[in-house]
Symmetry: C2
Subunit: 273 residues, 2 copies
């Protein structure tokens, strides 16, 4: 791997596109390899053993693509299998979602009351809660968590503004009103797409997009290792992204264009494991 | 200067706090010196000669504080006097608002139609327009600019949600509806505070906060020069910020706390020039 190697990003499906979008925002001049494990999505309701096995397979695929960094876009994998990915990656730096999101939440909160939403697996793992407690040195912090298992399928179906989604979100988020949080971690890559609805239900609460902070952390990490491409003479055009999926490439292609807002190459269908 | 030297930020007044906030968001572990030239605010309706003289005086003040970087938070100074600041700064890196904001706008736009709002001086200088044209290599780009001279005094008076502000914003922004922009550069540090109102008037338009991108650019620049403080063992607490103003320190202190959301040291009154 070298400066011109791509940044590798993997996710269980298309949710990781919200993370990719943040990377493009801050690192537009880099090349990317994106792997969506659409044949086995969603990961959020599966066991730790299975998630670890899938994560290692995804990481190995990216390593073979000679990536200079592995980004675990999936919060569930970041919660349950980051150690396995780090072990597979050897000298390649690995960035997950939990640490950047936890940092940002601690910096954001004024009243010390932080909410976390995520898949069942992410919330059960207590990964965000434990990370926040480990990072916290001084503040009195209260963490409240809520799994939102229907958000992923609702987003995958494109119901971003429907009354049904609003109703379900209202039910999920109601408890946060009572405990007076001022900061909410969107602990799943799909959730930034529901930010408007969440904002309406919890006005004044600062929403943390872990993907945004993971992108900035990665920028720092790569810059410190002299692994960032030169951007002094940047050409402003679409970044180069190679997409790979394990199922339904046409479907993914359509959703990626709609999500990123520009034309991208067709994803290549690959088999993992 | 060394790794532990502070990052210096200057502005004509308190608008630069929106830039400082973005720096704290992405570089919470750094020390900061913030200079607000409140005795001579606003810069936006003054001549180029005067703005250059004031800018050099502000930069020299920060240089005496042994800063490792100078951030020109003020868009008007960034437009008209960045070369003078670079000359004064010698080997100290200087970051302004125009280049990061222009980059971000070019990356954001899909239809090639970019709007810019700023003070009269910023808009007359055409700094954003020229930078966008210089950076642009391929796209067909149309740039529309609109000075919004009342926004600064309205924000300084705290009228962030008033009906009057909404009405004035509506009049300023109306022309952008006709030319169908998809991206708007908030080309003045005060304007991110009016983002909600602007968003209501121009729904679906991506608002570019130049301060956010200046912060990320600075992170990169410092990381590449090995000038970032270690954050591997970050303590999550308030960052250390020394404030200096040229007039009305009590007033600034109150507004800084309300704006940043945490208690800060009282600013020290200083004389420039």
């Amino acid at each position: 791997m070298n400066i011109n190697s791509p940044i590798g990003i993997f996710d269980s499906g298309l949710g990781g596109l919200s993370v990719l979008r943040q990377f493009i925002r801050f690192l537009p001049n880099e090349n990317y390899v994106y792997l969506g494990d659409t044949a086995r999505v969603p990961y959020g309701n599966k066991s730790k053993d299975i998630i670890q096995r899938y994560a290692i397979e995804c990481a190995n695929f990216l390593i073979q693509k000679d990536v200079k960094m592995i980004v675990i876009a999936c919060n569930t994998v970041s919660s349950l299998a980051i150690e396995s990915v780090i072990e597979s990656a050897k000298s390649i730096p690995v960035v997950g979602m939990i640490k950047p999101g936890s940092h940002a939440a601690l910096r954001s909160t004024k009243n010390g009351k932080i909410g976390i939403i995520g898949t069942r697996a992410t919330i059960s793992s207590k990964a965000y809660k434990l990370e926040i407690e480990a990072l916290n040195q001084n503040k009195s912090i209260e963490v409240n968590s809520q799994p939102c298992p229907l958000f992923v399928p609702l987003v995958e179906e494109g119901l971003l503004n429907s009354e049904a989604t609003r109703q379900i979100a209202y039910n999920y988020l109601q408890s946060f009103k009572d405990c007076d949080i001022d900061t909410l971690i969107l602990g799943c890559t799909h959730y930034p797409l529901l930010a408007n609805i969440i904002h309406d239900i919890l006005p004044g609460v600062n929403l943390i997009d872990s993907g945004e902070h993971a992108a900035v952390n990665s920028l720092r990490l790569l810059a410190e290792r002299n692994l960032l491409k030169d951007d002094s003479n940047i050409f402003v055009e679409q970044p180069k992204i190679d997409f790979f999926v394990t199922d339904l490439p046409q479907n993914f292609h359509k959703q990626a264009i709609s999500f990123l807002g520009f034309e991208v190459e067709k994803p290549e269908l690959v088999e993992l494991g």
